[in-house]
Symmetry: C2
Subunit: 225 residues, 2 copies
DNA sequence: AGAACACTTACAGATGATGTAAGGAAAGTT
DNA sequence: AACTTTCCTTACATCATCTGTAAGTGTTCT
C-alpha cells in the first residue's frame, strides 16, 4: 500500500487526515518537524506528499519547490485560502494537485488515488522475444498490433515468458491456473495451451511454445543469429 | 501513430529499418546529418530514437548522453558489436534499451513497442468529484477501491464527467452509445442509466447523477462547503 | 385527473470463457 | 510392426456477463 506523508501543523486537522488515510489502508506518516522536511522525505520515500501551505517557519510553497527539485512527489497541496492566486502559485511551483480545506473525505481520497495512479510507475511489459505482454491486463503486443488474452491464456503465457528460457512443468502451470498442483487436469491445461497457440497465431506468432515431451513447455528462443 | 527517428549511417541498414517501421505504420524519419542531432530532435520531437553506435563523427554514446540530458527519449541503441561491455556502457549513458545487429524484425518491433508503452504518458484519470475514472479501461476508483464498469456504463459516466458541470442531453448520450442521435432509444438509455447508478451505489457513490427533466443528465457537484 | 417523463424490474438473446469428452496424431517401446 | 504413452485438436455444454426489449410503477407538470 502507498505511503503518504502528511505535512500539516494544525494538530486537529492532521489527526483527521491521518485517520481518514489509515482507515483507507494507506500508510500515513505525520511530519511535525518542519525544519528539514526535504531530508526527512528523502529517507521516508513517500508515494505521495500531502502538504499544507500555512506552516510555521518555511511556507508550504518553499517546501514544495525544494521537494520537487529533489524529484520527490507527487505533491497534493492543501490550503484553507481558496484564492485562485494561491492555486496558480502552488501549481506553478510544482504541486501536482491542489485542494482547498475544508474538504470532503471522498474528494480527498479521489484526488489522492488519482495522483498515485498518475505517478505510479508503469509496469514494464514482459519481453517474450518477438512479442511483449502486459502482465496486468494480459494484453499481447506484436509490432503495432495488440490483442487481449483471456485470463487463462494470459497466465500461461506470462508464466512461460517469466521462466524463459527454462521449461515450465505442467504441475507449475496447473498451480498457476487452478492453485493446485496436486491434481493436474492435464486435459484442461492442454486445451488452454491449444487456445493460446491459436491466439498467438492470430498475431502471426507461430511456434512460440515448444513442448518438451514429458517435462512441460517453454518459449522458443529467437536468439539464434 | 508514433514518430521514430532513425539515426544510422549505413544506408542499407537505414533503408531496411525505415521499411520495417513504415510498413508497421510508424512515422519513420531518417537522420543523416550527425552534426547537430540534438537540435534536429528538438524540433522533430520523436516518440522514440533508434540510435546506432557506430556513427561517423560523434559516437552514438555521446549523442545518447546529450539527448538524454535534454530529456529526449526513449532511446533504443543499435549496435553490431555484441559485447557486454558496450551494452553496459550504453545503458549507463542513458539508453533505455539495447539491441544487437543483425536483429530479427519481430524482435525489433517488440522492443520498440515495449519502449513506447513504457514511456507513454499515462493518461490522466478523469476527476469526477468524489471518484475518478480511467477513460481507457473504464475502471472506476473511489478511495482505494476500484470497479470495472461495463462498456455502456463507462461511456455514459465518462461523458458526464467530461462535460461536467454541463447537462448532457439524451441525444448526445445516444450518439455516444450507439453512434446515432437520429433514433433515440430512450428506453435502453434509461436502463443503462439505472445500471450505472446501481453500480455507483456499490462503491458508496449515491446520487451522483442528476436528472434534468426534459434536458438530460449531469454529474452532481460536490463543491458546496 | 391526465399526460408526459422518469425509474425499476424481469426476461431473453448474444457473446465469450472455460471445462468435458472423444478421437486422432506423433513419438517412444517392445 | 504393434502397442503404449503422450500430445494435439475439435465439438459440445455450461456458466457468467452484457445488453436490449417489454412491461409496470413512480414522479412531475399543467
Amino acid at each position: 500500500m502507498a505511503r503518504i506523508a502528511v505535512v500539516e501543523d494544525d494538530s486537529w486537522m492532521r489527526e483527521e487526515l491521518m485517520d481518514i488515510l489509515q482507515k483507507e489502508g494507506f500508510e500515513a506518516v505525520a511530519i511535525t518537524d518542519f525544519h528539514d522536511v526535504v531530508a526527512q522525505m528523502a529517507t521516508l520515500a513517500p508515494n505521495l506528499v500531502l502538504l499544507d501551505i500555512n506552516l510555521p517557519g518555511p511556507s508550504g510553497f518553499e517546501i514544495c519547490k525544494s521537494l520537487k527539485s529533489k524529484g520527490i512527489g507527487p505533491i497534493l497541496m492543501l490550503t484553507s485560502r481558496d484564492k485562485l492566486q494561491d492555486e496558480l502559485h502552488g501549481l506553478h511551483l510544482g504541486a501536482d494537485d491542489y485542494l482547498t480545506k475544508p474538504c470532503n473525505r471522498d474528494r480527498l481520497l479521489a484526488r489522492i488515488q488519482n495522483l498515485l495512479r498518475r505517478f505510479e510507475r508503469q509496469p514494464d511489459l514482459i519481453d517474450g522475444g518477438s512479442f511483449s505482454l502486459d502482465p496486468n491486463t494480459f494484453t499481447l503486443y506484436k509490432g503495432s498490433e495488440s490483442l487481449l488474452l483471456s485470463a487463462n491464456e494470459g497466465k500461461i503465457l506470462l508464466a512461460l515468458a517469466q521462466h524463459k528460457p527454462e521449461v515450465v512443468s505442467k504441475s507449475t502451470l496447473s498451480e498457476i491456473l487452478w492453485g493446485t498442483d496436486q491434481y493436474i487436469d492435464e486435459n484442461a491445461l492442454q486445451v488452454n495451451l491449444t487456445r493460446l497457440r491459436k491466439t498467438l497465431r492470430q498475431l502471426g506468432l507461430e511456434d512460440q511454445i515448444e513442448t518438451i515431451r514429458g517435462k512441460g513447455y517453454r518459449l522458443r528462443g529467437q536468439e539464434k543469429p
